[in-house]
């Protein structure tokens, strides 16, 4: 065997044989000389191994980093009471130690941002006199202003009521089951505007242990009441606002339509002409079918002339019907001014009624809020002696209990209690909405947005990818066109994702979205448009006729010239049709009344999904191609042999066999789409989406809405957050979540692929 002769291009063929090889050759008759160590190249093998080791260490390291940080975030950490040498003490959660400029130092999370202190504090260990873990130390997770660390002091019922003139203050109501404690005297205040206010406070519990117990019993109810208020706001006030907006938009749409008709007088075409023409063409088409079938014909292939006639009749019919719908001559009369006036008046009436309803709902909620606001909790910060305030501007008002989302006393919790808190925190992280500029709360809408995006993306990408792969494997003849398409697919795979974002923003959001909103930006003159329509129909007729002519009988020689002409006709028809749609003067947008605020013409989940679909198309194509190629040729030939057509073979034999491969492609595309951020930054993902893209409001799916996305959430939390240190734990958990999703999808793809390979091996045996 001589490699050098089969392929002279291999470099080793021309160089002299390596010396070491000769050294390794056993000498005839002599003792075997030890091989030179150089020949084994052990040191260089080690260098290669070192490369692999580094690669593995890198991936293991990064996964471990994410896993450790992400998993540790929600574990309740102990709270230290730190006494410093200068005599001050504070409560803090020790986070990490570091070698600072003046010796070792430790980072404490101290929270209590609204008490005017920094929420994170570096302390030099040398300055610490001592630390202890008070069992009472309490961690409050609040709806606003982050966490509060302190010692539980009391649970109270607070009253700050405005008094009607000459009325005596009434007794405070105590929630059933609560223990009534000490009560402060009523304090009457006269406000600057002359009204009077009575303030008093009833202690339900005082001291550390009773306070904790009272908190545990009262907090769920307070939380439930708060949830009721929020739900009321969302479910009552939101829809009323929506109906007011809808009424305004309907009126605006009517006004726009009136203005359009006023500026566009009735065309001179008689009404009956359109309908008559359409009817005539339909009858002609219906009659020509049976007529043609009655003629005897030797073969079943259609004759070109017949095809042309029937298509021409159909074209006339289509054109007439189209003209009748587009020009709709019977409804082009201007809208009378009285009708607009009437619409205005009815809109005003409706709006007034809705506003009254709104005011009633607001009043109901306000009553609930007053009750909610009464129950307060006093948790004192030993460093300043101040308790958690209601607002930063009201430092003397204790925090309403409903503002507390979770009460934790981590120092006193046993291991099992900590685990329960840990799991509960994870659950609320996964199920709640973000709060406090995304630095607190959960990520439910983020996960939801990611999932919806991924589903939309796979709906868009799989059919297109499968069709393209089928074309490449089953239909295309190998040639320059297929080479070009392969290069195109590889380029699609290699184009930077941000370029897709740029394209998506410009094409999908601004061009296509703008078209949906307001119609064509440059409408063609009507006459030109109808000429264009004629061109489309003509090239369709011509194309079909030529195609029929080219296929007179299966035995005749293929005529490449005619085939090219047919392709040209189709291309012309497609190009003209695109132009017709893009420049139609008959479409003025679905959402023109909402302008200038865009509906589809801005960021939206649909555009994000389409952009990502384009991005992940090559993944699906490559995976599907691989799967189709793995279907043995013999199976196909069997199908053909039984008389199956090409499409039947593909649909019944090839596609079912290739299904695992297609699924692999879809899963890989989803994984890629879930992890991609750069294009989404441009076409859809936002910091905080007010509404979910799928909701209970009609039409339930809102593809124009912007959405939140896990990857973008990481970027936003890590880099755009006002308090990056506070956001950091959440970034880690979000990162863990994203990595988990992506890895699970990838693992699934690998498993499916593995099963596919096993089957292919079995099939080929």
């Amino acid at each position: 065997m001589s490699l050098a002769t089969t392929d002279p291009g291999l470099p080793f063929a021309s160089s002299p044989p390596p010396v070491a090889v000769r050294a390794a050759t056993p000498r005839a008759g002599g003792a075997r000389k030890p091989t030179s160590p150089l020949a084994h190249g052990e040191p260089l093998v080690w260098i290669m191994g070192a490369g692999l080791v580094l690669c593995i260490v890198m991936i293991a390291g990064i996964l471990a980093l994410v896993a450790v940080h992400g998993a540790a975030t929600f574990w309740p950490r102990p709270i230290d009471r730190v006494a410093l040498r200068d005599g001050t003490t504070f409560l803090g959660i020790p986070l990490r130690d570091e070698q600072g400029p003046d010796g070792p130092r430790r980072l404490y999370r101290t929270g209590n941002r609204d008490a005017g202190l920094p929420p994170f504090r570096w302390v030099d260990l040398a300055a610490v006199a001592g630390t202890e873990r008070p069992p009472d130390a309490l961690l409050l997770d609040r709806r606003n202003w982050g966490i509060w660390l302190g010692e539980p002091t009391a649970v109270t019922i607070e009253r700050t009521d405005l008094l009607p003139p000459d009325a005596a203050p009434v007794q405070l109501e105590i929630p059933p089951g609560a223990q009534r404690g000490r009560q402060t005297d009523d304090v009457l205040e006269t406000l600057p505007d002359g009204s009077r206010r009575v303030r008093s406070r009833v202690y339900l519990a005082e001291g550390a242990a009773p306070t904790l117990a009272a908190l545990a019993s009262a907090q769920p109810e307070a939380a439930a009441r708060f949830a009721r208020i929020e739900a009321g706001t969302r479910e009552t006030l939101g829809p009323i606002n929506g109906r007011i907006e809808r009424a305004r938009l309907d009126l605006r749409a009517l006004e726009l339509e009136a203005a359009r008709r006023a500026g566009d007088p009735l065309p001179a075409l008689p009404r009956w002409a359109f309908g008559g023409l359409a009817a005539l063409a339909t009858i002609a088409l219906a009659v020509s079918g049976p007529l043609a079938r009655r003629r005897p014909s030797a073969d079943r292939s259609p004759r070109a002339g017949r095809v042309a006639v029937r298509l021409a009749i159909a074209a006339v019919g289509i054109a007439a019907a189209l003209a009748a719908t587009l020009e709709h001559p019977w409804s082009r009369t201007p809208i009378p001014a009285e009708r607009i006036e009437a619409a205005r008046a009815s809109t005003a009436r409706l709006t007034a009624a809705l506003e009254a309803e709104y005011a009633r709902a607001v009043a109901e909620l306000a009553a609930l809020r007053v009750t909610d606001d009464r129950l307060r909790v006093i948790v004192t910060d030993p460093a300043t002696g101040r308790f958690a305030p209601r607002r930063q501007t009201e430092p003397d008002e204790p925090l309403p209990l409903s503002q507390v989302t979770r009460v934790t006393a981590p120092n006193a919790e046993p291991w099992s209690g900590k685990l329960a808190i840990y799991l509960d925190r994870w659950w609320s992280f996964l199920s709640e909405e973000p709060r406090d500029a995304n630095t607190d709360g959960g990520v439910f809408p983020v996960i939801f947005g990611t999932v919806v995006l991924t589903i939309l993306l796979s709906i868009a990408v799989v059919p297109l990818g499968v069709v393209a792969a089928l074309y490449l494997r089953e239909y295309a003849r190998q040639g320059p066109l297929v080479s070009l398409i392969r290069i195109a697919v590889n380029n699609l795979a290699g184009v930077p994702s941000i370029v897709y974002g740029v394209f998506g923003l410009g094409f999908f959001c601004y061009t296509v979205g703008g078209y949906i909103d307001r119609g064509s930006p440059l409408p063609a003159p009507r006459s030109l448009w109808w000429i264009g329509l004629g061109g489309v129909l003509l090239s369709l007729i011509l194309g079909a006729t030529l195609a029929a002519a080219a296929r007179t009988s299966p035995e005749s020689r293929p005529r490449p010239f005619l085939a090219r002409l047919v392709a040209l006709c189709w291309a012309l028809a497609v190009a003209l049709a695109i132009w017709l749609v893009a420049s139609t003067p008959y479409f003025s947008g679905f959402f023109a009344e909402k302008l200038p605020s865009p509906t589809y013409g801005g960021k939206g989940i649909l555009w994000g999904a389409l952009t990502l679909a384009l991005l992940t198309l090559p993944v699906v194509i490559v995976a599907t191609e691989e799967a189709i190629a793995a279907v043995p040729r013999s199976v196909r030939e069997g199908s053909y042999g039984c008389g199956g057509s090409k499409w039947q073979t593909i649909r019944r034999i090839v596609l079912p066999q290739a299904l695992p491969g297609i699924m692999t492609g879809a899963i890989l595309a989803m994984a890629r789409g879930a992890g991609e951020v750069a294009p989404l930054m441009l076409v859809g993902a936002v910091k905080l989406a007010p509404e979910l893209p799928v909701s209970g409001d009609f039409p339930f799916i809102h593809p124009e809405r912007s959405f939140m996305h896990l990857g973008f959430h990481i970027y936003d939390l890590g880099f755009q957050s006002p308090d990056s240190e506070a956001a950091r734990p959440l970034v880690w958990t979000t990162t863990l979540l994203l990595v988990l999703i992506v890895l699970v999808l990838n693992l699934a793809a690998i498993l499916v692929r593995g099963r596919l390979r096993a089957r292919v091996i079995n099939a080929s045996v």
């Binding site: 070192a50 690669c55 994410v66 297109l464 069709v467 195109a488 994702s497 992890g675 930054m681 890590g718």
Partner: protein, 928 residues
């Protein structure tokens, strides 16, 4: 008989599938085409349409023409101080205001600055300052007069309101706009006023201060700030001038007074310009900087010529908005812009030099110039009646129109938005145009070439898309972004390619199949890590670590490969029987131990080595101890000039010559015996900042690895020749090999040290190139993290290429007695070489377009330095940062699309070449 539907479905499916396949091709073409179509208007010039303007009732040429914001009207200041306002599509005079009771003859008018400030000097010696402008406001429904209520949309009608008339336009269905010519000129008292003023300029700065400079016919000048003082009892405010007198230094005997006088640089400079091209620059007291000892008063600092040919005289001049750039035009058709820029080597007393920033030559002499109030656009009226709107930064002629006068354009004006152009000929005929200005500020030259930007002495590539105020120049060179992209790519590939290719060879050739089945998906898994996660880790975790362990990381780059090689050589000394078992099963574990120990050694040794290498030199310590003597100024390097501070870069340039800069003077260390020197503790970061030390250690560090590689290659060449001699049969070849390798390392390090010393002796400092000041988010961090993104890709594709080499080749090679290593190196690798190359290209394509990592882990500053410790901005990150804020369809938006197109083109070339190579490989492996 086949049913008709089967036939039909077959046809239909075929058509759909064919169409879909071709649609993929259309997608790529469509993306490319869309980007091209969006970016293309950047390179087009604008267009103009004539606004019908009937013959204007002008009999005397106006001294000043001011266009309204929307180009709806023009205000003309006549020589008799009458302000006439003319509606532009129509030509009616809707307002005529005369100042005072009697006509006053206007002697000279200053060109309006960007806020519309104007000074008018009268023949009677008085000077008025204020603004002349056209005010517009939106009318409420009730205010619309009956005569205007029913005009068509877009039309206008003059209405008499009060003393003066106004113009009312209908801009929408129920929207009306009213335009009024407004002038609030108020007299200002000049000290020693007597003779008529011959030249004057009036100009404000962004802080609201207003400067006035006047020059009487006898050469006596006054410069000062003008303040509005409201009298105590209320009433009309008065303008008060705090003035400094000055006189022009004649450049030549009999030169007379200058033909133009300008206030420049927010009142810090005065420019006097003669028709023969002499430009004198004076500094005013407001230019004094704290460090400079300048006498009070106005002094001449520089005299230059702004002509570029003999026999040519200037015909027009003006200051561009911002008051920094002077535009001059001559009677040979030349148009040039000049600006003062900081240049330490300048002979001028304030270390500034007047440099030319752009030049353009027209076919006809220039007869009129008008500056835009919003952008760096100038309207040039030519002697043949042509008008050209020229953008100075882009060098693009936005629009060229023929006024049809046949004779020179006397006065020109551009509206603030740059959408209306107005011109008056010598005979009083006028013309107006509506301009579509296109994207005036972009051209090939701006986007890819070097430009002299305001305040800079030399042409540079700069990217700065947004500026603090609208007078600042927008700098849109894509070159720094392309540079940043390439820098990120090169640094990333530098780490990723060796690791990935080495790992792939090991996996393919030296690993047991069962281990490979686990390892390969694990590395592939890395490919799916979202880049936002990598970027976050780079910025939040890696960057602080790199900052903390920088010496260890730099040392590890050298020590880990060398150390692992050395340990491998030592391992070979272990007797083969003991080795074989371990080697087969646990080789990777052994290697991991070796790598781990070398990393640990680097971490341990980094601090001592840093202390040893990056020490301050004796000269540094001498100067730090205060033992130095000043150098006589004539021995200073020419570029130092007169200055009180120096940048770290400039100090380093001095230090290369053994000089220092202390307290405003260049000094030289003096070796005195009694000086107590500070201790010599090395510090890498201070060394990088250029604070201490000589160039040698940096070069040594950079050259260590190449040096050792070089020595080893030479050694193996010699070695091979020696092994050929039949007699030598070393008893313990492994020991000899190890010794040889140790020798090679030593030799290599010596080689590196010697070449480092040589480079240092030539005055080359690595801190000017690969090293430099350290910033936390830098190219090294990006390079390391980029490895995570690129390695899996390169690894998988290379491994596939290596595995696809037929096993017959391996068997044949092993069969003739080659070892596994020889087979891998000389049989498998050459056969799969192009596949590995293609893998590297695909990795390159990924690195070029990587967005989130560079966005998060670099400072995104568009710098152009090769320093691996500095930040940069890539094309992709630039798009991600700026596109969400760019206005749709604007110049900035299109420039960002061009960035995308450049990126697309770069990856297109890379991927296509990779694909072509791969298709060749496929054919070849099929042949094997």
């Amino acid at each position: 008989m086949t049913s008709r539907s089967v036939y039909l479905w077959d046809r239909l499916a075929g058509a759909v599938i064919r169409g879909g396949g071709i649609a993929v091709l259309a997608c790529v073409l469509g993306i490319c085409l869309y980007l091209v179509l969006t970016a293309l208007p950047l390179f087009r010039s604008g267009s103009a349409t004539t606004i019908p303007a009937p013959a204007l009732p002008i009999h005397e040429l106006p001294r000043l023409a001011v266009l309204g914001e929307y180009g709806q009207a023009v205000a003309l200041l006549g020589p008799d101080a009458t302000l006439r306002s003319i509606a532009l599509p129509g030509g009616e005079v809707f307002s005529e205001v005369r100042r005072g009771d009697r006509p006053r003859e206007v002697a000279v008018v200053s060109a309006p600055d960007r806020a519309g400030l104007v000074a008018v000097a009268f023949a009677d010696g008085g000077v008025d300052v204020g603004t002349i402008r056209i005010d517009t406001r939106i009318l409420a429904d009730a205010e619309v007069p009956a005569s205007a209520a029913s005009i068509p949309i877009g039309a206008s009608v003059p209405v008499v309101r009060g003393a003066a008339g106004v113009l009312i336009e209908r801009t929408g269905e129920r929207q009306f706009r009213e335009s009024t010519a407004a002038s609030d000129l108020r007299p200002v008292i000049l000290p020693g006023a007597g003779g008529p003023i011959a030249r004057l300029d009036f100009r404000g700065d962004p802080g609201g201060a207003r400067f006035l400079a006047t020059l009487a016919a006898d050469g006596a000048g006054v410069f000062g700030t003008v303040r509005s003082v409201r009298p105590l009892g209320g009433g009309i405010p008065r303008e008060r001038l705090t003035s400094t007198p000055f006189s022009i230094v004649p450049p030549a005997p009999g030169a007379g007074i200058p033909d133009w006088l300008f206030i420049a640089f927010d009142g810090r400079h005065l420019l006097a310009l003669w028709r023969d091209g002499t430009l004198q620059r004076y500094v005013t007291p407001s230019a004094a900087t704290p460090g400079m000892t300048s006498p009070p008063g106005i002094r001449l600092v520089e005299t230059v010529s702004v002509l570029d040919g003999a026999g040519v005289r200037l015909s027009a001049a003006g200051m561009l908005l911002g008051g920094v750039t002077l535009v001059v035009a001559d009677d040979a058709g030349g148009l040039r812009a000049y600006q003062p820029a900081r240049d330490p080597a300048s002979p001028a007393a304030d270390a500034m030099r007047t440099v030319r920033s752009s030049a353009r030559r027209f076919d006809a002499p220039v007869s009129a110039l008008a500056m835009s109030g919003r952008e760096r656009v100038v309207a040039v009226g030519l002697a043949d009646g042509t008008l050209v709107v020229h953008h100075l930064t882009s060098g693009k002629d936005v629009v060229e129109v023929d006024a049809g006068f046949g004779d020179p354009v006397a006065t020109a004006a551009v509206s603030p938005r740059g959408d209306t152009l107005f011109a008056i000929g010598q005979d009083g005929r006028s013309a107006a145009w509506a301009i579509d200005r296109g994207h005036a500020e972009s051209s090939l030259g701006v986007l890819f070439g070097r430009r002299v930007y305001e305040g800079e002495a030399a042409p540079r590539w700069t990217y700065q898309s947004s500026a603090a105020d609208d007078a600042a120049e927008v700098k849109m060179s894509l070159v720094p972004l392309i540079y940043g992209t390439l820098k990120a790519t090169v640094v990333g590939m530098f780490l990723a390619v060796p690791l990935a290719v080495l790992a792939a060879i090991y996996t393919s050739e030296f690993m047991r199949p069962e281990a490979r089945r686990v390892i390969k998906p694990a590395v592939e898994m890395m490919a799916s890590l979202p880049s936002v996660v990598l970027g976050f880790i780079a910025a939040m975790v890696l960057a602080p670590y790199v900052r903390q362990f920088l010496p260890a990381i730099l040392l590890a780059v050298v020590a880990v490969p060398l150390g692992v090689l050395m340990l491998a050589h030592l391992w070979m000394i272990v007797p083969q029987d003991a080795r074989t078992g371990l080697s087969r099963r646990w080789r990777l574990g052994l290697i991991a131990v070796a790598v781990g120990s070398m990393v640990a050694a680097s971490a341990l040794l980094a601090r001592p080595i840093e202390r040893m290498l990056f020490v301050p030199s004796r000269a540094d310590r001498l100067v730090a101890a205060g033992s130095f003597e000043p150098l006589p100024p004539d021995a200073w390097p020419a570029w130092v000039g007169r200055r009180d501070t120096m940048s770290a870069d400039e100090e380093r340039r001095l230090r290369v010559r053994g000089l220092y800069f202390r307290a405003g003077a260049v000094v030289r260390p003096v070796d005195a015996p009694d000086v107590t020197l500070p201790p010599a503790t090395g510090d890498l970061r201070r060394w990088l900042d250029g604070g201490i030390g000589r160039p040698w250690p940096g070069w040594f560090l950079a050259l260590a690895l190449p040096g050792v590689l070089c020595a080893w290659l030479i050694q193996s060449r010699i070695d091979r020749r020696r092994t050929r001699s039949p007699d030598s049969s070393p008893r313990s070849p492994a020991v000899l090999e190890a010794a040889r390798f140790a020798l090679a390392i030593t030799l290599g390090l010596c080689l590196a040290a010697a070449s480092a010393a040589l480079l240092g002796a030539f005055g080359l400092d690595p801190r000017d190139s690969v090293f430099g000041p350290f910033s936390q988010r830098n190219a090294l961090v990006v390079g390391i993290i980029m490895g995570f993104a690129v390695i899996p890709l390169v690894y998988t594709i290379s491994e596939d290429a290596l595995r696809s080499v037929p096993n017959a080749l391996r068997s044949a090679s092993l069969g003739v007695g080659a070892t596994a290593w020889q087979t891998a190196l000389r049989v498998v690798l050459p056969a799969a070489g192009s596949g590995v190359f293609s893998a590297c290209m695909i990795g390159l394509g990924r690195a070029v377009g990587e967005t989130m990592i560079v966005l998060m882990a670099t400072g995104n500053t568009p710098e152009m330095t090769p320093n691996i410790f500095s930040g940069f901005r890539t094309l992709a990150a630039n798009i991600a940062v700026e596109l969400p804020e760019a206005e749709k369809g604007g110049t900035h938006y299109r420039v960002l699309f061009l960035c995308g197109l450049v990126l697309f083109a770069m990856t297109f070339v890379i991927n296509t070449s990779a694909e072509v190579v791969r298709q060749r490989v496929r054919r070849r492996t099929a042949a094997l």
